[in-house]
C-alpha cells in the first residue's frame, strides 16, 4: 500500500495518541495485571536509557561505560525534589518538571565527560566514563544525608505507565529529530572520521558537547522515572552492572538505530524477567550476551538500519538554505 507523506504523518500522530490513551486506560481498567504493567514500565524506562546511550555509543561511536552514573544523578536529584523540596500535594502536578530537573542535573554532570572527550577518545574515554560512574557511586555512598549506602526513600509513587510512555515518545521524537539533522549527521561523522569531519566545517567539539548533554539528560530523566517507580534508590542500583545492562541493550538492538534501541530494551527486559527462576545466575546473562554479541553480531540486530517509520521525508525542492551556488 502506498501512503502519502501527509497520511503517514497523521498515522504517526494517531498511533502516538492511541498509545498514550492505552497507557492511561489499561492499568486503570484492571484489564492488565499489575505485574505486567510493572514490566511494561521497566521496558519503557530501559528504552529511554538505551536510546540515550545509543546516541553516544552508536551514533557518535564513543564507548561510554558509565551511563548509570547519569541515571543515578537524575534519580537522586528528582527524588530530593519530591521528598524534601516540594510540598506533598504539589509533587504529582510537578512531576514532569521534577523529571526535567533530574535530567538537567544529569546533563550538568555530562559536562564532566564531555570536556575530556575533546582531547581523548576510544579506550581512554571509556576509562573516563568508567571512573565517572565509580565516582558518582562513591560520592552517593558517602553522603549520609542521602542515606549513604543504605539508600534514599520516601518518594511518592508518581511513575505510571502513562508517564513512561509519554517520555519514551518524547525521547524518541527528540532523538529522531536530532539524528536526521545536520547535527546528527555531524555526530555520526565523528564516528566515521573525526579529522575529516573537522575539515568539512563540522565543529566536532560543539557536537560532542551536545551529544553528551542530550544523552545524559535523558538518562537522568529515566533515573527520575525509575526512582518514583521503586520509591527506593541506593547507590548500588547505579553501579557498573547497570551500565553493563544498558550496553547489552544497545549492542543487542543495534548501534546507530532508534528501532534497534527500542528492540534491544524490550528483548533484554522481557528476557531477564522470564529468567527469574534462575535466581542469582540471571545476572550472568547480561555480560554473557555482551561477549557473544561482540563476537557474533557486533552491530546488533538493527545496526545502522532504521525502519521507514522513523525516517523523515526528504523534500527536494524550494526552501531557503545557504545562498545560491554558481
Amino acid at each position: 500500500m502506498v501512503i502519502s507523506d501527509k497520511q503517514k504523518k497523521l498515522l504517526i500522530w494517531l498511533g502516538a495518541a492511541l498509545l498514550l490513551a492505552l497507557a492511561w486506560l489499561l492499568p486503570a481498567s484492571g484489564f492488565l495485571n499489575p505485574y505486567v504493567v510493572q514490566i511494561l514500565m521497566y521496558v519503557g524506562i530501559n528504552m529511554i536509557l538505551t536510546l540515550s546511550l545509543n546516541l553516544v555509543n552508536g551514533y557518535m561511536g564513543e564507548f561510554s561505560v558509565g551511563h548509570a552514573g547519569f541515571m543515578g544523578i537524575g534519580a537522586y536529584a528528582a527524588s530530593i525534589l519530591t521528598v524534601w523540596v516540594l510540598p506533598r500535594g504539589w509533587a504529582p502536578w510537578a512531576f514532569p518538571a521534577v523529571l526535567v530537573a533530574g535530567g538537567l542535573a544529569a546533563a550538568v554532570a555530562g559536562l564532566v565527560v564531555a570536556f575530556p572527550s575533546f582531547r581523548t577518545r576510544g579506550d581512554y574515554l571509556a576509562i573516563v566514563t568508567l571512573a565517572f560512574n565509580m565516582i558518582v557511586k562513591s560520592v552517593l555512598e558517602n553522603i549520609d544525608a542521602l542515606g549513604g549506602p543504605r539508600g534514599y526513600l520516601g518518594m511518592p509513587r508518581l511513575t505510571d505507565l502513562f508517564w513512561v510512555a509519554a517520555w519514551v515518545l518524547f525521547t524518541l521524537w527528540m532523538l529522531r529529530n536530532l539524528v536526521y539533522s545536520n547535527f546528527g549527521r555531524g555526530i555520526t561523522a565523528i564516528r566515521e572520521d573525526e579529522v575529516a569531519a573537522n575539515l568539512t566545517t563540522v565543529d566536532t567539539r560543539r557536537l560532542k558537547l551536545y551529544a553528551f548533554l542530550i544523552s545524559a539528560f535523558f538518562a537522568g530523566v529515566a533515573g527520575g522515572l525509575y526512582a518514583h517507580l521503586l520509591q527506593f534508590i541506593n547507590p548500588r542500583s547505579f553501579s557498573i552492572l547497570k551500565s553493563t545492562d544498558m550496553l547489552v541493550m544497545v549492542y543487542l538492538g543495534g548501534v546507530g538505530s532508534l528501532t534497534g534501541s527500542l528492540l534491544g530494551a524490550t528483548i533484554f527486559t522481557v528476557l531477564l524477567e522470564l529468567l527469574r527462576p534462575l535466581g542469582i545466575w540471571r545476572w550472568v546473562v547480561g555480560p554473557l550476551m555482551l561477549v557473544l554479541l561482540m563476537i557474533f553480531r557486533p552491530l546488533g540486530l538493527m545496526g545502522f538500519k532504521e525502519t521507514r517509520l522513523f525516517k523523515p521525508r526528504e523534500v527536494f525542492f524550494g526552501g531557503g538554505g545557504p545562498g545560491p551556488l554558481p
Binding site: N177, L178, D193, V195, A197, T200, E314, G320, P322
Partner: protein, 269 residues
C-alpha cells in the same frame, strides 16, 4: 594584487624529523598552483598545517589578510579553505547526500533547538540545503547514488564526492591532495577538465599536490617543488621540468622527467 593565502616561513617537526623547513608560498586569487615532490617531501604536511590538522609551531599563515595560524580546523574550512584527501576520507556509513550536506555544517542556518523542534526555519533551511546538495551531485554526475552509503561508491566516484563535499561550503581556496591518484590516463584527463571548469565556475584558487607530472604540467601555472621538507625550486611548469635540482630529487642523477614518469605509471603507485 593581494595574496589570498600567504604562508611565511612555515616549519614542522615530527619528533626529531624535519618534515618541513621554512616553507613560504603566496597564492593569488584565481591561481592554480602546484606542489610537487617525491614521497615524504612534506607536501601533505603543508596541507595539514594550512587546515589546522597540525599545530603550527613556527611560521604564520594568513588568509585574506587574517592570521589563521591558531584557528581550529572547522573554523578554517568554514572561512573558505576546503580540501580533499590523498587517501579518500568520506563518511562511509552516511549516504552520499548526507556527506555533501554535512559539508555545509557551518552555514546550515538552524540552531540545535530548531532541529530538535523541527521548526519552520529548520525545514526551510534543510530543504534549501538538500536542494543545493542535489544540484552539486547532479553536476558531479553522482545524483543516482544520492541515497547510497558512500562506502558503496566506485573509486572514481568517491573522489568526485570528496570534491562535491568540499565545494558545498563555497570555499575560495581549494586544496587538492593528489586528486589523480589511482586513476588511469583517460580518467586523469577527465579530472583535469573537471578541475578547470570547477575553478572557473566556482571562482576558486587552487593549490594542488600531485605526483604525476602530466597533471601538473597540464593544469598549473606555477609549481613549487619540495624535497625533504625544503623548497628546492619554484616557477612555471616548463622551468621546473628542466630544473637540475628537481631532476635530481625526482630521478636521482640524469634522465628526462616525462619519460621516467610514464615508465613509473606502469607500476603500482
Amino acid at each position: 594584487m593581494e595574496a589570498i593565502l600567504s604562508i611565511t616561513d612555515l616549519s614542522h617537526n615530527f619528533g626529531g624529523l624535519k618534515a618541513l623547513t621554512d616553507f613560504s608560498l603566496k597564492l593569488f586569487p584565481g591561481e592554480l598552483a602546484g606542489l610537487i615532490g617525491p614521497n615524504g617531501a612534506g607536501k601533505t604536511t603543508v596541507f595539514n598545517l594550512i587546515t589546522g590538522v597540525f599545530r603550527i609551531s613556527a611560521g604564520r599563515i594568513f588568509f585574506k589578510g587574517e592570521d589563521i595560524s591558531d584557528w581550529r580546523s572547522h573554523r578554517i574550512t568554514a572561512a573558505g579553505i576546503a580540501r580533499t584527501f590523498q587517501n579518500i576520507r568520506l563518511f562511509k556509513e552516511l549516504s552520499v547526500l548526507d556527506n555533501v550536506r554535512l559539508g555545509a555544517f557551518a552555514e546550515h542556518g538552524y540552531s540545535l533547538l530548531d532541529a530538535l523542534r523541527r521548526s519552520r526555519r529548520f525545514q526551510a533551511e534543510e530543504q534549501g540545503l538538500t536542494r543545493q546538495a542535489l544540484e552539486l551531485l547532479e553536476r558531479f554526475n553522482l545524483i543516482r547514488y544520492a541515497h547510497t552509503p558512500a562506502r558503496h561508491l566506485p573509486y572514481g566516484e568517491q573522489r568526485r564526492l570528496e570534491m562535491a563535499r568540499a565545494l558545498i561550503s563555497r570555499p575560495q581556496v581549494l586544496l587538492l591532495d593528489e586528486p589523480a591518484a589511482g586513476m588511469n590516463q583517460s580518467e586523469t584527463e577527465d579530472l583535469i577538465r573537471l578541475i578547470r571548469t570547477l575553478k572557473d565556475d566556482f571562482a576558486l584558487t587552487i593549490l594542488l599536490i600531485e605526483h604525476q607530472m602530466r597533471v601538473v604540467v597540464n593544469l598549473c601555472q606555477r609549481v613549487t617543488v619540495l624535497d625533504f621538507g625544503e623548497t628546492i625550486a619554484s616557477g612555471s611548469p616548463q622551468e621546473i621540468q628542466h630544473h637540475p635540482a628537481v631532476l635530481e630529487a625526482y630521478l636521482g642523477r640524469d634522465g628526462d622527467l616525462i619519460t621516467a614518469e610514464s615508465k613509473d605509471d606502469e607500476g603500482p603507485s
